[in-house]
Symmetry: C2
């Protein structure tokens, strides 16, 4: 029985993680969770899974739930998330929160010796060196949940890093793959949220449309697999069937394939290095699909991907700025305050203004993150 | 330095194996080899690689070479092949001979504790239970060289057999992929030898055109990976870029990809579990290729594949008959004695006549093999 803490239980990845736990009651137990303000959902989850520990965002919600579920411990706020992250009964923490807010609890959980299943890519983008350094120091495995990184992780089983020629991330192209740049001027939030293959949260769906999602994944891959940026490439693959690949120096490529279903990589992180049957998974039939398409990535069309490679190579606080500017800009777009193309314009301006600070500590990262968000909002 | 014996040095796989050894002089040394009647080629190989031991088919060739290369030991005939197979200086035997003639030296090499890199699929088809039994008893690894089996073997690294849902072999479709059955009546040997993707020997190229090659591979996969026939499937994939796949029970599929170059799987068998750079390998660019195609296998169009599944499931001496009948029929086709479609007609007739003998020993297999060839020739 693997005991699991889950950060971000009511988000898209959180809900799918619960689905996996529900499907394998003999193998997994949810012992702690955090959520935001969706208290109706929290109620249902608590009633079904009976965790020991629950943290929600608001104090008032916390108090109400405490009265409703007497046997269960409730917390709230940032302190509450950390209690869930370090809960001593859990052996694995699934970090499925959104944005760089996931950084601090991840570091705390690593220090507490938890295995981390990381769906929260912003944590690695904003402070990869801190997270990987802490994981190494505490001898804690960091297991990818993103489908691309899970694919690479699976492809690397039984292999040696020294033999890697390159990591090849596949990109679906997102909601606007087939539109030219000039056709993006007036796209609506609703159009942007219509991803062709994956069912995901709003922020990551917008990130897919701008291709920033792939950019964040490039930086995430750099940290997770200790691979220099020259050895990471991206190929357009509109069907999202090959989830990513590793090329070795003998020219052999190992790829992981499947239907686009986030529950597969989530489950793999929970069962690793073993596998369990997928409770409700749809099997892939290549004959039924018939064709897989691949094409070169156009860095002029998808400028955010170029920003990410550049920020990754610059290092220091530059990826923190990239990520914070993106979070702020996407949030402004979702709120209807800026147009779609302004997302990348804002990110570019803020990146251009920033002088990178080498090897930043947690405080510096948090300060740069906060400043960057302020800069973005001041430009709107 | 890995010391290598090579059976079938002047064939297609043999020549490519020499290419790999030549490209990695720091890692590999050829210490023994066998060849047939291509003495000009043997001379060149011996002069370049200076092995300790060489076996050729004819006594007269053997004596001539002995006079020309005083420091080197020469043998001939079946006895000579066995001397090469068990040569005590070699740690790995690459078995690249053609046909079931490879069986006996393989068994001898296994008994002598050699690691076997097996390109000679007929050996496993005709006597898989004997070969795998001997390998298990002597704790000797059997490493696949066939591109499909190497792909599966690579995909299985770091994985557990219990989690396998199925092995998926890809098939290019061979020289006549796009022709209907009725268009095959009058095809010539030359047309049949024109494989769209792979440069291989004559027999295997014909086997590709009849799809018997895939059938033999199904039986080979059954034995190499201890997987029942219900868990082996074949998908048409005309580009031969995905060399084969493993589906696990969590719906995840691991595939191995690359340009069609037999030197990659040959080298992997020699470097396993490590990898070395490919001395002259062409890297795969999926973006350049653009599309990969997949479709269902048509068992009425490719009847040999059905024969192979049926013979494999029947077990006992049935796969021996399948293989011997195929070897005899292909040889008759290459000699211009029968038409292309008669290959499968002859195989079918001989299979229909045979009463399978369960768990046959080596003598039984050799007797059934010889009888089958006789039957085929009597039917021509």
């Amino acid at each position: 029985m693997k005991k699991i803490s889950l950060l971000g239980a009511t988000g898209s990845i959180g809900i799918q993680t619960l689905d996996i736990i529900r499907g394998h009651k003999e193998s997994f137990q949810l012992v702690a969770l955090s959520a935001g303000r969706n208290i109706e959902q929290v109620r249902k989850i608590v009633a079904e899974f009976r965790p020991d520990l629950v943290s929600v965002q608001e104090k008032s919600d916390c108090e109400r739930l405490r009265a409703e579920f007497p046997g269960i411990t409730f917390y709230h706020g940032a302190k509450g998330i950390e209690e869930v992250a370090v809960y001593d009964q859990a052996e694995i923490l699934v970090n499925a929160v959104l944005g760089s807010v996931g950084l601090s609890p991840t570091l705390k959980a690593i220090q507490a010796g938890k295995t981390i299943a990381i769906a929260n890519k912003e944590t690695l983008v904003t402070a990869g060196h801190l997270v990987m350094g802490a994981a190494k120091q505490n001898n804690v495995p960091l297991l990818p949940v993103d489908s691309e990184h899970s694919a690479i992780f699976q492809a690397l089983q039984g292999e040696q890093s020294k033999n890697i020629e390159q990591l090849i991330l596949t990109a679906s192209g997102g909601s606007f793959r087939d539109r030219k740049r000039e056709e993006l001027k007036d796209v609506t939030v609703k159009e942007a949220l219509n991803h062709p293959n994956w069912s995901m949260g709003a922020k990551i769906t917008i990130d897919s449309a701008t291709m920033m999602n792939k950019g964040l994944e490039v930086i995430e891959a750099h940290w997770l697999f200790s691979i220099p940026y020259e050895k990471i490439s991206v190929v357009l693959h509109k069907e999202s069937i090959i989830h990513s690949m590793v090329e070795f120096h003998d020219t052999s490529i190992i790829a992981q394939l499947g239907t686009p279903d986030m529950r597969v990589p989530i489950q793999y992180a929970l069962t690793y290095p073993d596998r369990l049957p997928h409770p409700a998974g749809k099997r892939l039939s290549l004959a039924q699909i018939g064709k897989l398409h691949f094409s070169e990535m156009d860095y002029d069309r998808f400028r955010c991907l170029k920003f990410a490679f550049d920020a990754g190579r610059a290092g220091g606080t530059m990826p923190t700025v990239l990520n914070a500017a993106n979070e702020a800009a996407v949030s402004a777009f979702l709120d209807g305050k800026i147009s779609f193309l302004q997302i990348e314009e804002l990110i570019e301006r803020v990146l251009d203004q920033h002088q990178t600070i080498g090897n930043p500590d947690l405080e510096t990262i948090q300060a740069v993150d906060a400043e960057t968000r302020k800069s973005v909002f001041s430009l709107i």
